[in-house]
């Protein structure tokens, strides 16, 4: 029922933006002079607006929006710390990898942390994994400290 909309949501930013838009659309449902579809076009991003309008026309709008909001809130969040701001292409390919390997129902929250130099800090549902370059460099210096000291 919601999968075609949810498949378009890749990041926490997308999810928050859609939730905000749905809030405005909900107001239009209960407003005396409100035009539901105009509100959708006005508040929802262009790539989702047409799809959402179709769904709202086919279902009871308030119940559909309520269900969609619930689904969005229940999506599992993967927090990613990266050393750079990824391009949309990178985000899309990352999301494709997640969809293939972990399944549906995930969104990504990307934070820029230049101090990690490269790699990523990953945290999902309380699990944490440091796959950063700075950790590898630290480990290298720790394990090879005698070797380095001898050379200096």
């Amino acid at each position: 029922m919601y999968s075609d909309i949810l498949s378009q949501i890749h990041t926490k930013y997308d999810s928050d933006a859609l939730l905000l838009g749905l809030d405005a659309v909900k107001k239009a449902i209960y407003s005396k002079d409100g035009d539901l579809f105009a509100a959708v076009n006005q508040n929802i991003s262009a790539n989702l607006a047409a799809l959402l309008s179709q769904k709202l026309a086919a279902n009871s709008p308030d119940k559909y929006i309520e269900g969609l909001e619930m689904e969005l809130k229940n999506m599992k969040l993967i927090k990613l710390g990266l050393a750079f701001m990824p391009t949309q292409k990178t985000v899309d390919s990352l999301f494709e990898w997640i969809n293939t390997n972990l399944g549906e129902g995930f969104i990504v929250d990307i934070m820029v942390k230049p101090e990690i130099l490269g790699g990523a800090l990953i945290d999902c549902e309380g699990k944490y994994f440091d796959a950063s370059l700075v950790k590898l460099v630290d480990e290298f210096f720790k394990t090879n400290s005698t070797f380095i000291n001898e050379r200096l």
Partner: protein, 493 residues
Amino acid sequence: MSFLRPIQHLSMKDFKKYLDQTGEIGYVAKIVHSIVYVKGLPSAQTYEVVLFENGGMGLVLSLRAKYVEVLLLSNKSVEVGQQVARTNELLQVPLGPELLGKMISPLGTSIKGSTVIAKPAELRPIDSEPMGILGRLEVKRPLETGVKIVDLVVPLGRGQRELVVGDRKTGKTLFLMQTILSQARLGTVCIYASIGKRQSELKGIIKFIKENNITKNTIIVATVAGDPPGLIYLTPYTAMTIAEYFRDQGQDTLVIMDDMSAHASCYREITLLARRFPGRSSYPGDIFYLHAKLMERAGSFEKAAITCLPVAEVAMGDMSGYIQTNLMSMTDGHIYFDIDRYNRGIRPAINPFLSVTRVGLQAQSPLVRDLNRQLSSFLVHLEDLKDFMHFGAEVSESLKNTLNLGARVEALLGQAQLEVIPVNIAIFLLAAIWGGVAKDSGKEQVRALYQKSTERYLNEPEFAKYVNNTLMATPSFSELAIKIAKQEREIFA
């Protein structure tokens, strides 16, 4: 998992190390005063220590479907969204002989948070199971408090748990200080747990310990009213853990928990904030279990004894409060400080009729047991007689004698604040007046005689030796009284 270093010395730097080590992260979702709800940390366990991103510390209280409930242990501000790491460690305190003479927080650091023991001999979790019956011994050795009325009427034994109960400002802490002074001089390790007390009161206690030069046998585990409730809650646990460490080193210890009603209130605050179901007087259902488990850790053991003196405050002499009656039922007796006696100018304001010692008498010598029996029945008789006298009845010669003896006994049992009297001289003097010494003297003269004899006992080794030998050689109190009365002139010349 081996810890990186003692948990109490962790800083922000360690946060990242624990994050890598446990591979788990949580985020602060909600803060309710000293309770923090954390989302994440899927493998957290109860009583595990967690670290906040800013170096703050917390203790896992319970696990809920969506959150981990954490009790804050530090004063560092926590914000929603802050990261939290598990440590996979239960809360442990660093232990070692270096603790003697120190004042520490319940986390084992100094009050300002710096390290007290750089290389601890041992680390122990603060909440441990009490020792089973096989490791325990009967309470068989006496514990001298230096307070005459206690040592003679409600005597204590080593390993006894005796509740000290009474209204505010009736001299409970003064009595505890006298006991510490008396025991520290005898080499007992004295641990004073100040549970959320006022800073000024704590300063007074520190000053007393320093002035009397007993710091080397004393440890203070202190929290003050401004500390986080989580930290106040841990205070008696740390004190008991330290006592257990010294017990295992073969040293007798005395633990004072001042006071447990404040501890119960603090736990009530925490549990109500954590939305636990309130029971009687809004205390949680497990308050009895908590206190009983703590009291059960004291006792007489094969290696040494842990004597525990918990304190409970009452309001307007009402001893029927929930926490007070709980504590009475889990201790081996109680010493009751009576506000009426205090207002009548009796010092110490201990009510001998409402005080109880359950195992203390079995630890005393036959002489003290005999004395206690006679003295207790005499005091009851005297009280009845005084009530009778209110009617203005004419008194016979024998009743006059009883009243006269009563006045001298009461003068003997009275004691100046913070004065410590060795039990042997107290027994000797009681036997003397029982035998009729200074029968016709006035109250002031009798007091002067007590004072002079006590000073002689403390300063003249010959006299002290004579007193001790006389007591050793006489198992019956009546015989002792007769013996001293016969030698009155030689002894009290």
